[in-house]
Amino acid sequence: MFHRPRAGALLLFPGLLLMVLGFAVPSAAMLFAPPGVSPSDVFTRLTKMLTDGYDLQIIGRTLTLGLIVTVVCVVIAFPIASLLARSTSRWAGLWLALAVFPLLLSNVVRSFGWLVILGSNGVMGKIITGLGLAQQAPQLLYTPLAVVLGLVQLFLPLAVVSCYSAVAQVDRGLDDAARGLGASRLRTLWTVVVPLSLPGIVVAATLVFAGSITAYTTPYLLGGSSQRMLATQLFVHANVTVDWAAASATALVMTVLVFALSGIGSAVARAKGRVA
């Protein structure tokens, strides 16, 4: 019944209204002309941000930590995914479910765990002093390490799911063929499975990177004010100092970074997909 353009347009209209009035227009207004601020003020603040040492440090930290998190996630998620996708064990399903389950669980709850582990009275500190490695427990919370651990925990499930579907669509027969021709397990993985699942790996990396540089809860809880990242800085501008020009400039930087990343990611994935 929906083969006529007019019916199609009618179906789209209410949803489109929500997206335009509840998303596109407010976002554009906030990014370029927040209330009481002229677009030129936003632009001035943006140029200042891209030259100012403190702001650049935040951008640099956000990108560096994001990159580290991405690399760690892919390096850990791909082996998990390939073990699970190639497993014949009946427990493989349960392990996959265990890796996917955290996606359903609140980020707040997931990040709290690191407070217990890395906090001043935490497990890690006790282990370090208990082993006599240090007189006093070192500061672990509010360090780059804490943020990286928290973000890796946050994004590993996503990376595992993406890598899993990428590896699962590589025909197992190709593994057999490579082994039969003389390739070891590792060689098979490296010359056959990795190249053929590369588009999926790129997608996973893009999702993790974009997620890491926009995440709020984890940097807020585990990084605090000493490891400010773009998202936590945006919140300070918006809610503490109420400097809307600065908030818009920060939001612009974040948005442009994420869109650029997604664009590059999907272009690379498409190029790799063509090769295969």
């Binding site: 190709l174 057999d176 063929a177 082994r179 039969g180 390739a183």
Partner: protein, 340 residues
Amino acid sequence: MTAAAQFIDVSRTFGDFTAVGSLNLDIPEGRITTLLGPSGCGKTTTLRMLAGYTAPSSGTIRIAGEDATRLPPEKRNLGMVFQSYALFPHMSVADNVGYGLKLRRIPAAERRSRVAEALDLVGLGHLAAQRPRKLSGGQQQRVALARAIAIRPSLLLLDEPLSNLDARLRVQMRAEIRRIQAETGLTVVLVTHDQDEALEMSDVMVLMRAGHVMQSGSPAEVFPRPANRFVAEFLGYENFVPASLSASDGATTLTVRPEHLEVVQGEAPDGARLALPATVTGIAYRGVDRHLTLSAPRGEGEDDVTLIATVRADHSRADWRPGDRVTVSARPEHVVELAD
């Protein structure tokens, strides 16, 4: 004849299911051995155990006299052609064929010449730079063959290699594989469910059912003398007559192929081993042949025996019609006695 590979008391179970039970089999060197049987008979499991993809539950597998039971596939130096061909989609045809040579650290120059040689052998030298997915099914099949041969394997294993090709190409490839085997002198093990393929291609055919060998031998030995009812049925013997209807000792059943039954009105020809009165119950027209279904009475209170005969149309007389009373007979050399 020396054995290129041997199965000694090999079995493989999956949970409660016995895929292969206590298999003893020698694969003769320099010949084509065919593992033939219906799906689920254990032929593919047997091949995968030989290749090293499936570990036997018990028993020993020897390749070239050496115990290879626990050897991983990459250490066996066997060339396997998969049913799906399993060509690497991200590599060119030449890179696919050269993959195994690269792993063997063959220098680039020699590698190139051996890739070219293998591709020439299958007649695809001109497609070396193509990606596999641009190729037709038949061409992909040849690439898979070249890739397996290029590593100079001690055995060439073919898992239902022709089943994804259309009928005409399949017949053509049978001759092609025979030619390649003759030129290279390779030992070949071929898995198939197609009796025609097995008859045409094998030096030795091994008929399997439910994980056991039912009969093995050359096509010339096996085809005219099936050892049991399963082999007879699989090879297209469709008529099974209780031995009580014809004097014979030892056997319980006699079997004859449909094309070896003679159907006449009146007396059976002299020297017939079997001669049964019967009634025509059905006729199917197959061009020059007539496919007759017949019913022969067995005796009081017992069901009639149904017979199937393929006979040439005889234009000197009227065609067969249902209800015709006839005599069905077979010459002694066409009647096989079965114990089961």
